[in-house]
């Protein structure tokens, strides 16, 4: 079966790309389509995960929705692909539905598993903002699947790769990028494996230093509860939960967050949850793996020191 994986590559192979190629390898022979100016050396690393043929379109450097969709559709036509795989990230969310609609192919967005071992093609996704899981069956011959970050363990599976350039000119889309304001080089929340988050219990934006210190010692990304973003203590893109970013890191540390149902909805996909709260009755403890009943102002610096000791002992 022919599998087409769309990946985005800047200067190194992203985890999302490894996840999507690994997923594809489980379905059939993997062809990859990508865009931009990554070197052939970086592109060929996809062979380590099982990608056989790589097609790269070098005429664009930004993922314009209309151009990238056209690129994928051309590749699907040429390779007669049955499965089209993407990552459920910002780009995937704008491209996946376009491609699916054009192909009249069933679209599973946010797959968290490989297809079930059954006669029909069924894949699990998160629904109700992570409060439940749905088994979604696709009825069409072609299937467009976007994979939720941190759901598939990348597996090495080395094959020989061939890289070819996609020569045809696909024109321009109507959306023009006029500016890109970088937000620092931290790992974006949806992809983060380690997240340190804090809520109203921190009392004011001036107190976030202890949250950032812990995040820095762990190499974690910072997040916050909704009221904290709404009152402007932290930027909106840090707001996690049902109406913010949904995350599924390996470790989620929450300090001074009560654990309201809307907050839990976006974070309960985390593998391990540590809750720090002065109130032993805080609902978050029911969703936690480890709990510390205590003052965040005291516990966070102690935890940071413990992490630093641990890191030093690992060296």
């Amino acid at each position: 079966m022919s599998v087409l994986v769309f990946v985005e590559i800047k200067n190194k192979l992203s985890k999302a790309a490894k996840e999507a190629i690994t997923y594809g390898k489980n379905l059939g022979e993997v062809n990859v389509v990508t865009y931009g100016n990554a070197s052939n050396e970086v592109l060929s690393q996809m062979g380590d995960y099982g990608a056989k043929n790589i097609f790269v379109y070098r005429k664009i450097n930004e993922p314009n929705d209309q151009v990238v969709s056209k690129l994928i559709l051309k590749a699907v036509e040429k390779l007669n692909s049955e499965f089209i795989l993407l990552s459920q990230d910002q780009t995937g969310k704008s491209i996946g539905p376009r491609v699916a609609a054009k192909l009249e192919a069933g679209h599973i967005s946010g797959a968290i598993s490989l297809p079930e071992a059954s006669d029909d093609f069924t894949v699990k996704t998160n629904v109700y903002s992570g409060k439940a899981i749905a088994y979604v069956c696709v009825h069409s011959d072609k299937k467009v699947i976007s994979i939720l970050p941190n759901s598939i363990q990348p597996e090495e599976n080395k094959v020989d790769v061939s890289i070819s350039e996609f020569e045809e000119d696909l024109g321009n889309g109507r959306i023009k990028t006029v500016d890109l304001k970088p937000l620092g080089d931290g790992i974006p929340l949806p992809e983060a494996e380690l997240v340190v988050s804090a809520g109203r219990g921190l009392k004011g934006p001036e107190n976030w230093g202890i949250v950032e210190d812990l995040a820095k010692s762990l190499g974690a990304t910072t997040a916050c509860s909704r009221p904290v973003a709404d009152i402007g203590w932290r930027p909106h893109h840090e707001h996690v939960g049902q109406t913010g970013v949904a995350i599924r890191p390996n470790l989620y540390i929450a300090a001074g967050i009560s654990g309201a149902i809307q907050h839990l909805a976006g974070v309960n996909g985390s593998k391990v949850i540590v809750v720090i709260n002065t109130d032993p009755e805080a609902p978050f403890f029911k969703a936690a793996d480890y709990g510390v009943v205590g003052d965040a102002f005291e516990v966070l610096p102690k935890l940071t020191a413990a992490i630093n000791n641990f890191k030093a002992s690992q060296r």
């Binding site: 910002q90 969310k93 899981i133 309960n268 969703a287 510390v292 413990a306």
Partner: protein, 246 residues
Amino acid sequence: MKILVCISKVPDTTSKINFVDNNTKFDENGVQYIVNPYDEWYALVRALELVEASGGTVTTITVGTSSDDPTIRKALAIGANDAVRIDADPTDSFFVAKQISEYAKNENYDIVMTGKETINYNGAQIGGMLAELLDMPFVSLANKLEVNGAKATLERDVQGGIEVVEVDFPFVLSASKGMAEQRIPNMRGIMAARTKPLNVIAPTDHKKLTSVVKFELPAPKTGCKYLDPDSMDELVELLHNETKVI
């Protein structure tokens, strides 16, 4: 400016999620429905702000049954001019997008808006599908929208930063947090909503490409292990050796 805002109903965010009929159906018992927050707080309110500033109309569109009417009236109470409901069960994204595109294709909207996703299916599919079916550009996950003459400027979060984009009309966008502030409808709005047009139209015939076979609740946590604030070394050791996340 002529704006179409796609809205759908979702269970209130405090709803307990359960399933019936062998886990094939959502248990609606005691569930209150609201307008999907992304559709309402961000897309609809920003659309209203734009027409308040420079004229035009805001129409809402919903693929749903008569059980959607109360949430559609809520959108009218907040300020939409009129509403369209395509009378069908919205069980597959392609089906829904196709219904809306069939309606919208002859109406010459300048902007078609959706929320970034619904909080029940979290599919984030309708906007992109609509854009393709209507042959328009799609600005996904936009958190800022300004209109200046024949052009719109939008911002959106992308990997590693905030992207500022420009696009001419017409286009489709999906709205995320930041685009506008929630509005509470006032008494006058609620009264006016009762008589605003809600046009119910028949669906066109289209196939459904996906279906949900069953639902499942995530495995509950097995219980919390409590540690003393002075035992942070022990916590680190557990994270390293017991759960192996660091």
